[in-house]
Symmetry: C2
Subunit: 217 residues, 2 copies
Amino acid sequence: MSKVAIVGGTGALGSAIAKRLANTGHDVAIGSRSAESAERAARELSDGVRFGTNARVAGEAEFVIVTVPYTAHAATLGEIKDVVGSAIVVDTTVPLVPPKVMRVQLPAAGSAAMEARQHLGSDARLVTAFHNVAAHRLAHDERVDCDVLVFSDDLAARGDVVTLIQSMGMRALAGGALVNSAAAEALTSLLIFMNKSYAADGAGIRFTGLTTAPPIP
Amino acid sequence: MSKVAIVGGTGALGSAIAKRLANTGHDVAIGSRSAESAERAARELSDGVRFGTNARVAGEAEFVIVTVPYTAHAATLGEIKDVVGSAIVVDTTVPLVPPKVMRVQLPAAGSAAMEARQHLGSDARLVTAFHNVAAHRLAHDERVDCDVLVFSDDLAARGDVVTLIQSMGMRALAGGALVNSAAAEALTSLLIFMNKSYAADGAGIRFTGLTTAPPIP
């Protein structure tokens, strides 16, 4: 059982992750800029889900999962920067630039992950994950036919996040160093393109040929 | 039956693609900087595979598949630039920067694809593909458990390349505009990382949830 804060937890991805974590038995807190919005979202999820401002919940967790649109990325990291301490920050942000969300448009730093590194500083235990999972798939209790890629330069933190995600009923795979997050961030635009061109309701990816990877739950 | 030139066809990926294409009944020519090297490689493949300098074979084909290491990318495109005309150029180049090939290191232009666009000019019918398939897997007649992503701004050319690859016994998927090639190029470093960390002998990817995609052969 881990203590997990979902920063920006009132959105579709945040709520879906919160629900899965709570159903798995983790101690979950929803954060938002306003405690009132967080409370509303928490009450719609299962009993026992706590709530508070982003800074409040982030300061009391072992894992801080950031689920905000790219436009709120820098500001949200600013809200939690001074309180996360040695907690593991799991950034899910994909640098989509509307309206052309089917086009890969990585930022000059190379990825949202490298921008997060700049915002949080070199001491933060930064991991990225969840870029490719469709929120509406995650929100249901059905099996998610998509691997979750996990990136970090902190191998212990990366391993802990792989374990956390596996506990939620999804296969998590280490994808290498934080800089490699660019690959998963770019893939999201491909998946959106494929949703359109191949009539998919939440396209996903699976890695093949791995002999010693964690099992597909 | 299509007329296909493999530029840089003496390497592992080029030879494997040439063999699959020849076995499928396509008219294949191996190109190299030297006609002698091309002849040697062609003789090791099946009967009827033609050979010549890169410029020679590229000037006589409907599809020109470029399979060279990133260090030879610019020079090779320079060799074929003036002869490809309206042929479809299929660039397979991944911008790996040894020795750190497990790290995503996309070039300033965003991808090898965007660099190829600069080298070949705006009139070239440029497509990219084959970034994620392990050459040694492709070289055998076994089923390749990996989707082949295909990118282009020229939708007709992209469709023709999808059809060509499907004829080789692999599932090909359109991944969107040429700029999206960055995603597949970045993925290659992840697959190399996974080969090491998950004891894989040629990790691959499959896309899931696509209802109207071409069948997996």
